[in-house]
């Protein structure tokens, strides 16, 4: 009896019980790839192909239109304010929630998460109900000539609401995992609370902060539903880039609409790439 003989039936038996037959594997891969290409890749390709359908010069011309310029400026302004506010308060909230134990902690985390589960349209609606003509503060605002709705402050509020959880949610698990012993060590060595935060905590969570800011910014710049409700669509004044895409598209200026859309798509792609890089930094297995 030669020893190697039993090997081949054994091997084929084990592979048939640990993976699927070749034709099934092939079918599953083909289905997955086909689905992703048809439903996700094609729309993305279409955005760029439409944007450049009349050449690069026409593309640039569409982007330097005053309306497009105004939309880009407003989008950057609104995102800057919302992300800035959510960054500062996200750091503060993450410190309070992650570094301390207190009753009602789970409840507070669910409240912070709330905006994620509210439809964008409702996120806008709540501010209309507060500040609109028939809203709770509407008459008072009108008599004092303060414009919130259909103006930049309303857009900022709605955007801040929608992007509220991003920074906090990126930081809480990270800070909880890191525990409090480094902070305790710093305090027992005589460091003040602020020195502890800036010298010990912040350097440890910097990638997490960047991660949160990145996702927060992508959503802030791309938010459509909530902003559509509060903006009033005043051309050149309260149109952000997503709103301008809508207007141009509805006016059948497809090339211009896709030109603006291509900028937002590019932002999404850059965000995803940066996110992938950051996730490598955040992976605790690679230190």
């Amino acid at each position: 009896m030669s020893a190697p003989l039993p090997l081949s039936p054994l091997r084929s038996a084990s592979s048939s019980t640990l993976t699927e037959p070749r034709w099934i594997r092939g079918t599953i891969i083909a289905l997955a790839v086909l689905f992703l290409i048809l439903l996700i890749v094609l729309p993305l390709v279409l955005v760029f192909s439409q944007a450049f359908s009349r050449g690069f010069a026409a593309y640039l011309r569409a982007l330097v239109e005053p309306e497009a310029q105004a939309a880009i400026r407003l989008t950057i302004l609104v995102a800057g304010i919302s992300v800035g506010l959510n960054l500062v308060f996200g750091l503060i909230a993450a410190w309070a929630i992650a570094k301390f134990d207190f009753p009602g902690k789970t409840m507070l985390i669910s409240l912070v998460d709330l905006p994620f589960s509210v439809s964008p349209v409702i996120s806008g609606l709540v501010f209309v109900l507060l500040f609109g003509g028939q809203g709770y503060f509407g008459p008072w605002l009108q008599s004092h000539d303060i414009q919130i709705l259909f103006a930049t402050p309303g857009i900022v509020l709605a955007t801040t609401f929608v992007t509220f959880p991003f920074v906090v949610r990126a930081l809480i698990p990270l800070m909880q995992e890191q525990g409090t012993s480094e902070e305790e060590a710093a305090i027992s060595l005589g460091a003040s609370g602020l020195a502890t935060f800036f010298r010990v905590t912040l350097p440890n969570i910097k990638w997490g902060v960047l991660y949160g800011v990145l996702l927060c910014n992508a959503r802030a710049m791309g938010e459509f539903g909530a902003v559509a409700v509060v903006s009033g669509h005043i051309r050149g004044e309260t149109n952000t880039m997503p709103l301008l895409v809508e207007i141009l598209y509805n006016e059948y200026q497809f090339m211009a609409a896709f030109a603006v859309a291509s900028l937002l798509a590019l932002l999404a792609l850059i965000t995803l790439a940066a996110k992938a890089i950051l996730e490598r930094h955040l992976d605790p297995n690679i230190d």
Partner: protein, 277 residues
């Protein structure tokens, strides 16, 4: 020494908690409370009349029905994608893995106009489908397609880490005990994946119900046929019919809270069932 009792080692709890609650109240709680308050200004009869009016009812049916259908398709397609991405090696696997996140990251308005052009009758996919007699854009099918697009990452990203975490040894044990591949998948793997699958389904459903930007371009927006509930809210607002808008919003909000509640229950159930060694 009563002061010592409540001292904490790390400083700043009072200050940071105070600021957190203040900020949370200004941005999230007070606006949502305004919605609740507005609802209570309606009598139940008024509320019921609005909700059961033909147009509202149809919009809610469209949103919930198509969202359920889309989430179901997401569950099936998502499982196929997760399986291919985690269990098989094929060229471009990492790129396809990254592509799954695009619906998360792409602004909804961009997705909306792109899907509409893609499925319009002269579009890349719309034209061949039209030859088969299938009209997607500006019909309920279009809404469904947009909802499938927006929901796919939820199922994939919820199930994928769980499948990755399942020890290969579990499958080897099952195989050693004489189970064939199908039995191993059906009796060993699927039960461990079930909580994640349900969570992914619920998340995709909740997102699809509330979705606005990627749907309205492709929907056609014909009242009673292809009009979704979020759009009806916007229309009512533009007509200054705040009460109508509020009533629809409350129904949607309650649904998403129910979904969150369900997800929490699913997760608690799966945690109690599978205590990690």
């Amino acid at each position: 020494m009563s002061a010592a009792k409540h001292r904490r080692t790390l400083p700043g709890f009072g200050l940071t908690m105070g600021l957190t609650l203040t900020w949370l109240s200004i941005i999230v709680l007070i606006p949502l409370a305004g919605l609740v308050l507005k609802t209570f200004e309606l009598s139940f009869d008024q509320f019921w009349t609005i909700i059961t009016s033909r147009r509202t009812l149809n919009a809610l049916k469209t949103s919930f029905g198509l969202a359920f259908l889309a989430a179901s398709v997401n569950l099936i397609a998502g499982m196929i994608i997760v399986w291919a991405l985690t269990r098989y090696r094929f060229p471009g696997r990492r790129i396809f893995d990254a592509i799954v996140d695009i619906p998360f990251a792409l602004p909804t308005a961009v997705a909306g106009v792109a899907l509409t052009s893609l499925f319009a009758q002269n579009g890349w996919l719309g034209a061949p489908l039209a030859e088969l007699g299938i009209k997607v854009a500006f019909t309920p099918i279009g809404i469904f397609v947009a909802m499938v697009f927006i929901g796919i990452p939820f199922v994939v990203r919820t199930v994928q880490p769980v499948l990755q975490d399942i020890d290969r040894e579990i499958e080897e044990v099952s195989a050693c005990l004489g189970a064939n591949r199908w039995q191993t998948i059906w009796r060993v793997l699927l039960p461990s994946l079930l909580p994640a699958m349900l969570t992914g389904f619920a998340l995709a459903f909740a997102r699809a119900v509330g979705e606005y930007g990627s749907v309205i371009f492709i929907a056609g927006n014909l009242p009673n046929i292809s009009e979704i509930a979020p759009l009806l809210i916007v229309i009512r607002l533009s007509e200054f019919r705040y009460a109508d808008a509020t009533a629809i919003a409350v129904v949607m909000l309650l649904t998403s809270f129910l979904v969150i509640f369900a997800i929490n229950r699913i997760q608690r159930w799966s945690q109690s069932r599978m205590v990690r060694p």
